[in-house]
C-alpha cells in the first residue's frame, strides 16, 4: 500500500510535538535576526570605513550556506571549551544568517525616510538619538514589515536544516520515524503539508498586513 492511514494517525501527535520545537526555533531565531539586523544596519550607515567592513561581513554571511554556518557554530565552540546545545547553536546560526538579510531591509527602510525629516529635527534641536528613535525609526519600520514578514517565512522554511545537527524538530523527527519503520512517505509528506499550510497562512497574513499599511499610508 502506498499510503497507510493508521500509521499516519499514529505519527501525527509525535510530529505535532516536534512542530513546537520548529516554531520555537523560528521565533527565537527571528528575534535574534531582527535585533542583529537593526544593529548591523545602523553600524553600516555610521561611517564609510565601518560601513564597508559591515558590508563585507554581511556579504560573506549571505554568500555562504546556512548549513555550513550551523556546523561551524556547533563544532567550533567546543574547541574554545564552550559546549553549545544543538538547539542553541542552530538558533544562533539562523538568527545570524537572517540578521544579515534583515540588515539590508532595515537599510532600505531607513534610506526611504526623507532627508528633510532629519533636517527638521536638527532645526528643532533634537538630539540624534531622539531623532532616530522617535522620528526616523517609526517611519522606517511600517513600510518594511511585509518584507520582514517574507524573511520570517523564509527562516521558518530553513528550520529543517537543524536536523543536520540532530535538533528534534519536525524533519529530524520524521526521519527518525521513517528509519524506525522504513516508511518514509507518510512522515515526510506530512512535514511537507505542514510547511505548505503554515507558509500559505503566513503569506495570506502578510498580504493583509500589507493592505492595512497601504491603506494607512494612502490616507
Amino acid at each position: 500500500m502506498i499510503w497507510d492511514w493508521d500509521y499516519t494517525f499514529e505519527i501525527l501527535p509525535v510530529l505535532a510535538q516536534a512542530a513546537i520545537v520548529t516554531i520555537e526555533a523560528t521565533a527565537i531565531g527571528f528575534v535574534i535576526a531582527l535585533v542583529l539586523g537593526l544593529f548591523l544596519a545602523i553600524l553600516r550607515m555610521s561611517g564609510p570605513k565601518t560601513g564597508w567592513c559591515v558590508s563585507v561581513f554581511i556579504e560573506c554571511i549571505r554568500s555562504t550556506p546556512l548549513l555550513i554556518q550551523i556546523f561551524f557554530l556547533y563544532f567550533v565552540f567546543p574547541s574554545f571549551g564552550i559546549t553549545l546545545d544543538a538547539f542553541v547553536a542552530g538558533v544562533i546560526a539562523l538568527g545570524l544568517h537572517y540578521g544579515c538579510y534583515c540588515a539590508e531591509v532595515y537599510r532600505a527602510g531607513l534610506e526611504g525616510v526623507h532627508r528633510g525629516q532629519w533636517e527638521a529635527c536638527t532645526a528643532l534641536n533634537l538630539s540624534s538619538l531622539t531623532t532616530f528613535k522617535n522620528i526616523i525609526l517609526p517611519q522606517a519600520i511600517p513600510p518594511i514589515v511585509p518584507v520582514l514578514g517574507n524573511y520570517l517565512v523564509a527562516l521558518f522554511k530553513e528550520t529543517p536544516l537543524l536536523s543536520a545537527i540532530a535538533v528534534m524538530e519536525m524533519m529530524q523527527t520524521a526521519k527518525i520515524l521513517g528509519s524506525e519503520t522504513f516508511r518514509y512517505t507518510e512522515p515526510i509528506t506530512l512535514v511537507g503539508i505542514a510547511f505548505l499550510i503554515m507558509s500559505l497562512v503566513s503569506a495570506a497574513l502578510i498580504r493583509i498586513v500589507e493592505r492595512r499599511l497601504n491603506l494607512r499610508s494612502a490616507k
Partner: protein, 242 residues
C-alpha cells in the same frame, strides 16, 4: 555593494584561499575539499539550468497559458515555494522510491534544487514581464505587431534585463542550497567538510576553507550577473521609465 568592492572581496578571498591551501595546517584538507567543490559546482550549474527552464515556462504559463496549464503552473509554484527545499529533497530521496521511482542521488539533487528555485524563478519571470509598462504593448499594437511578435521582440527582451538581478540572487540561493545534498549522501563540499571534521576534529581550518570556497563561488556569480546586466542594459536608463 558595487562591482569594485565585490571584486576586491573576490581577490582577497582567492588570495587567502591560496595562502591557506599551501600552508602546513590547511593543505592536507585542500585536495579532498576541492573534489567536493567540483561536485557542488556540477549540481549548482545543472540545477540552475533546470531552474531557469522551469521558471520561464511556468512563469509564462501562469501569465499567458490556457486555463488548465495556468492552474498546473500555479500549483507547482505554490507547492515548491510553500515547502522547504530540504523537505523536497528528502521526499524525492526517501518517499519517491516507495512509489517505485528510484533516482540517482545526483538526479534527486538537481531535480530537487532546480524545481525549488524554479518556482521562485517563475515569480521573477512573471514580475519582470509585468514590470514592462502597458504603453510598450500599446506601441506594438500601433505598429500592428502580433502578440507573439510583441512578446518575443519587445516585451521579453526588456523583461530579461529586469530579471537579471533577481535571478542572480536565486542562483546564489541555489548554490547555498547545494549544501543540503550532503544530507542525501552526495559527497559535495559540505559532505566532505563534515566527513573530515568527524575524522580529524579540526573544525576551524576545515570550515574556514569551506566557507572561503563557497564565498568565491558566490562572488563569481554576483560579479558575473552584474556584468551581464551591464551588457544587456546597454543604453537603457537606470530604473525603468520611457
Amino acid at each position: 555593494m558595487g562591482t569594485f568592492s565585490l571584486s576586491v572581496m573576490l581577490v582577497g578571498a582567492v588570495i587567502t584561499l591560496a595562502a591557506l591551501a599551501t600552508s602546513h595546517t590547511f593543505s592536507v584538507f585542500f585536495p579532498g575539499l576541492l573534489e567536493g567543490a567540483w561536485l557542488t559546482v556540477q549540481i549548482a550549474v545543472c540545477g540552475s539550468l533546470l531552474a531557469v527552464v522551469m521558471g520561464t515556462v511556468s512563469g509564462l504559463a501562469k501569465l499567458y497559458g490556457p486555463r488548465p496549464l495556468r492552474w498546473l503552473a500555479v500549483t507547482y509554484i505554490e507547492i515548491f515555494r510553500g515547502t522547504s527545499a530540504l523537505v523536497q529533497l528528502f521526499w524525492l530521496f526517501f518517499a519517491l522510491p516507495l512509489f517505485g521511482i528510484s533516482l540517482e542521488p545526483f538526479t534527486v539533487a538537481v531535480l530537487g534544487l532546480g524545481l525549488n528555485v524554479g518556482a521562485y524563478g517563475a515569480e521573477v519571470v512573471r514580475g519582470a514581464v509585468q514590470s514592462v509598462s502597458r504603453s510598450q504593448w500599446e506601441a506594438t499594437i500601433a505598429l500592428n505587431m502580433t502578440r507573439l511578435q510583441a512578446l518575443r521582440r519587445i516585451i521579453l527582451p526588456q523583461a530579461f534585463i529586469a530579471m537579471i538581478p533577481p535571478w542572480g540572487n536565486l542562483f546564489i540561493e541555489l548554490l547555498k542550497s547545494t549544501a543540503l545534498v550532503s544530507l542525501i549522501t552526495l559527497s559535495d563540499l559540505a559532505f566532505k567538510a563534515q566527513e573530515m571534521n568527524q575524522t580529524t576534529m579540526r573544525t576551524i581550518p576545515i570550515f574556514t576553507l569551506v566557507l572561503l570556497m563557497y564565498l568565491v563561488m558566490s562572488l563569481c556569480i554576483t560579479i558575473g550577473m552584474k556584468r551581464l546586466e551591464k551588457t544587456a542594459a546597454k543604453g537603457m536608463p537606470r530604473g525603468r521609465s520611457v
